[in-house]
Symmetry: D2
Subunit: 347 residues, 4 copies
Amino acid sequence: MKAARLYEYDPAMNVELAIEEVAAPTIAAPDEVIVKVGAAGLCRTDLHIIEGVWKDIMDTEGNLLPYVMGHENAGWVEDVGSNVTSVKPGDAVICHPFNACGICLSCRYGHDMYCDHGKFPGLGLDGGFAEYFKTNERSIIKLNTGITPLEVAPMADAGITAYRAAKKAAKLLNPGGYVLLLGIGGLGHIALQVLKHTCGARVIAVDREPAAQALARDLGADIVLDGGPNLIEEVKDLTGGGAHVAIDFVGEHGTENLCWRLLRQGGELIMVGYGGEVRVPTLELVANEIKIGGSLVGDFVELVELMEMNADGKVRMHQTEYKLANINQAITDFKDRKFTGRGVIVP
Amino acid sequence: MKAARLYEYDPAMNVELAIEEVAAPTIAAPDEVIVKVGAAGLCRTDLHIIEGVWKDIMDTEGNLLPYVMGHENAGWVEDVGSNVTSVKPGDAVICHPFNACGICLSCRYGHDMYCDHGKFPGLGLDGGFAEYFKTNERSIIKLNTGITPLEVAPMADAGITAYRAAKKAAKLLNPGGYVLLLGIGGLGHIALQVLKHTCGARVIAVDREPAAQALARDLGADIVLDGGPNLIEEVKDLTGGGAHVAIDFVGEHGTENLCWRLLRQGGELIMVGYGGEVRVPTLELVANEIKIGGSLVGDFVELVELMEMNADGKVRMHQTEYKLANINQAITDFKDRKFTGRGVIVP
Amino acid sequence: MKAARLYEYDPAMNVELAIEEVAAPTIAAPDEVIVKVGAAGLCRTDLHIIEGVWKDIMDTEGNLLPYVMGHENAGWVEDVGSNVTSVKPGDAVICHPFNACGICLSCRYGHDMYCDHGKFPGLGLDGGFAEYFKTNERSIIKLNTGITPLEVAPMADAGITAYRAAKKAAKLLNPGGYVLLLGIGGLGHIALQVLKHTCGARVIAVDREPAAQALARDLGADIVLDGGPNLIEEVKDLTGGGAHVAIDFVGEHGTENLCWRLLRQGGELIMVGYGGEVRVPTLELVANEIKIGGSLVGDFVELVELMEMNADGKVRMHQTEYKLANINQAITDFKDRKFTGRGVIVP
Amino acid sequence: MKAARLYEYDPAMNVELAIEEVAAPTIAAPDEVIVKVGAAGLCRTDLHIIEGVWKDIMDTEGNLLPYVMGHENAGWVEDVGSNVTSVKPGDAVICHPFNACGICLSCRYGHDMYCDHGKFPGLGLDGGFAEYFKTNERSIIKLNTGITPLEVAPMADAGITAYRAAKKAAKLLNPGGYVLLLGIGGLGHIALQVLKHTCGARVIAVDREPAAQALARDLGADIVLDGGPNLIEEVKDLTGGGAHVAIDFVGEHGTENLCWRLLRQGGELIMVGYGGEVRVPTLELVANEIKIGGSLVGDFVELVELMEMNADGKVRMHQTEYKLANINQAITDFKDRKFTGRGVIVP
Ligand SMILES: [Zn+2]
Ligand SMILES: [Zn+2]
Ligand SMILES: [Zn+2]
Ligand SMILES: [Zn+2]
Ligand SMILES: [Zn+2]
Ligand SMILES: [Zn+2]
Ligand SMILES: [Zn+2]
Ligand SMILES: [Zn+2]
Ligand SMILES: [Zn+2]
Ligand SMILES: [Zn+2]
């Protein structure tokens, strides 16, 4: 099969993936599933992998390369292991990115991402920038009738990360309240749509890019701000004291110490982006009784819920498509912010 | 001032209210507020009062009549007691129907309707089918800019009763789930709008009346059913096993034993209407792990939240207006189901 | 191996189980586990099975008998299938009674008992009244150091059913509140201990048997009542208006319509026992805003939590032991209420 | 009456309070209550007031001094305003420290401490280091039969601050989980007792002082640590990966960056003490999905709940008593850590 493989890490990102012919994966264990890739989302994590940021975590012995990236995958079941009963070849599916074991206590509590024995195809083993890739039965969700893999692939990671944060936020909000989203990109625009349907609160969308601001308005943001130097004061004025909840999809370059300052008493900041360091006086935490918490990739059932919202027409992925042969162009465009929403690779 | 007063109870409902001149209420305690009535919703409870159903509860000594009904009131502040600081004459307001004390433990837990010392203007003391009526500061909510008392009066009771049930339901629902509403009348059509904005689940609206079905469709119901004899089977088929939550706005004439049968395992029935008797085998409760619970009038903060949704254009009251002089006609039309949504009396 | 087998259903319960030599179970699938039985709890469900109550559910084709009952099992791992990694032969374990699939959506939400494809060893297939029985890896919990199978076997079903109800109750209770337990038998005495450690509320224990009352006092019940004809009034007086939560472990013979009457406004009844029919006016549900819900066997993680409480010395099973050869005597004694707490069969 | 008054702020704390005769407070508004002080807790906040830390907040115009500190008060009702109905002279009471208005939206949501119009006797106006002090009806809780003001006064602030944090923690914990308390002083020893009764989790108590460690053991701590340099590793080992919840009662001198490091994935830190600055990489927040949140003084209903636990013998205040005439000695002993638990001033 055709696949795009990484041959070396390069902090300067001057390497290109090699588009080449490799052996297709085959079933080796009873719970495995081979998926014919319909589409695979291109993620900021892929850029970090190329840069070598993940090397010490996913390639500890230094023998991973060359390998196939791609962890936001959807397609059609091609082959299944002997124990697999819930899907069959030909089924259109989306794949939760993490192969959780289902046995450990974290799995039993439903915390898939805390699994003691999980694997992450696309990080540390071959993923979906190829014609086929291998995952397991517990990661597979059948698509609703009429939904194609191409429409939804980045839901598999970008989508559920945004969904999980939005779901946490919705639980904290009441009608009349305000939730602020910092960064209306591949994740933020999904969170915005989820929040518009799952809580009666008002959504404040903040992004420096006019294209992202326009997208936020299209998707129903109640207030759109450009994140200028007066953001904190603006938000406090508009909300009568501060936002009830904020979600920071950036988490670096100074934004990480912006959002906790624009919360009202009792407010909560959900951090999704990362890179920076939060510095907050304990007096601020206590006197304003604010909370700051990180949010990870969503669990399997969260992907199920997001796919239902998508099937109902409530949440759609805005994306730009590239042929697998053009993946290096897609990566360049992503770095240069040539497209809004998400880039998607089609084999 | 002009007021409509009830002079005798009549189970046959052949009595008419007398439209007559009475003394306007005046401030007698530091927390009291006189409201110039802008509009007052006509409620099924008013019919029950005329029939004498409430006599033993609100008129135990038999000396209440003649008195002024009307407990769903909105208008403008006319006068305030010496301790009142949060509103002033001229403010447009809506009035929570129950004057809770604010001191007892139920009040401190926010359970306004469980107050040990509450009063209910319109039930047991004069209400809002008049030019003025008296309430207290703790019951008053200022209207958002641009909202008129006439647009929202029935929110004060019909609205928040529906809102409270819908809010309970929303907490139990996830995207992909199903909530069934039985009865799309004055309460049900509000619950429908609230649910469409506060959870990602699908709404099944059930009503025998074609006009109510049409209203449900207009308001975005995902599925509309006529509640025929196969309702339970229909719902189980459509939902793949039963509804996750049902709200019964009827609660009598047999509906009270319909909704728990159409729940899926782990489902919950919220009962708002009343009159009938639920009969459910304990084996059904346990084996299907279903729950059946009643829901009362909403608390003060729930009216605040509903008014915010209304100000945001998310929830609107569908209503028919009658002059105070024509209140007897309104009552007759209500009994004969001549209008959909809610009837409203305008002084 | 030695096993006790049922050869015919008998509503009069005059049949005896046959103690006989049968083939021991063997591994036939990669996720299976053979357990050498250390002890197996005797359950009211076993009596119902003998009576034929479960025949239409678990023996639809009428070809189950003879078979081995026993669904509350603990022991030592004897053999494991090829995929099993979390336990190994020799490990002391307790077995969740239900073999849930781990794949269906109910399983993914953690609702083990709602699994679309589950099996229940001891009901419909051979169980633990034998020297060995077969279950699957997902049902197995390793015992904490120093805990023996004999001490805990009935935790596997009686224990977690009580635990689940108590956990639901604890979430509804605050210090100063009251929770009433109706029936201090094999389940009730576990719920009592759980509640004493997991909420600050007061526990009212109700049982007609003096021995059960004494046990309740030993275990720290704040108030012990005999359930006489004035129970509702007694409870309302003692609690200043009614219990906040009640758990009915009987659910028949009239108790099923007792507990909802002794709740305060906003109170909740959790039904665990079954047999009777709840009859409650919708007006009572609504005006008092009470809730009535069934509770099933606990999930896997609830058994994990209960075993932790047991390991910490917070919850202990009160039981009487019988040799497997004397299982018919145990059944007779159970019917005649010759012991308090739980009966346990030891191979 | 006799009162202790502060005449000047002094960062070096070399000033003494003047014990002198002043006019007793009198009723000036219908909701006021005069309390004959039975006891008043001495708080770290009182030291900070003397140091001048609160000057800019509570004495903005610089005309407060001389004034009476003391915000942790219990005693007997001496006189009441004309609207007060829930208590009468002679009633033994404890006083929530904050006079919330009961009208603003924060109050209606039950967030007493977020009130837009609150007053805090003892901070900014005269408090309870005197024979009498003035508060309002909404702050008053009648003591349970047999409870004396002297036994409970510091519950009014130290107690409920600890209770609120412990209640938040209990909601996050399951049996088998671990909660770590950093600092077993006036607040920590209350939190420990609350947690032992309201969740089935294990309590790890950390304090450098042997006397505090001994108190923790007496009160049932499952594990007691001295907070040495290996604390993080010790905790990770003992808990198999980290604490599920930690409460930091210190919040300065470096502890503020200790507790988030000893949490397990999904864990939460509740910050009660203050003074330092939290510095946490966003990557830590996200990858471990941990949360850090401040916790304020408890609400009125939380004081009610704590008093119920106290009446039930579940939570007791460990304290050392001083006569009002010796309040300067008490302050000195507090600074020098001459007593464990709480110091209490008795008029
Ligand atoms: Zn990704
Ligand atoms: Zn796992
Ligand atoms: Zn009404
Ligand atoms: Zn009240
Ligand atoms: Zn059982
Ligand atoms: Zn399953
Ligand atoms: Zn039975
Ligand atoms: Zn204090
Ligand atoms: Zn307030
Ligand atoms: Zn300090």
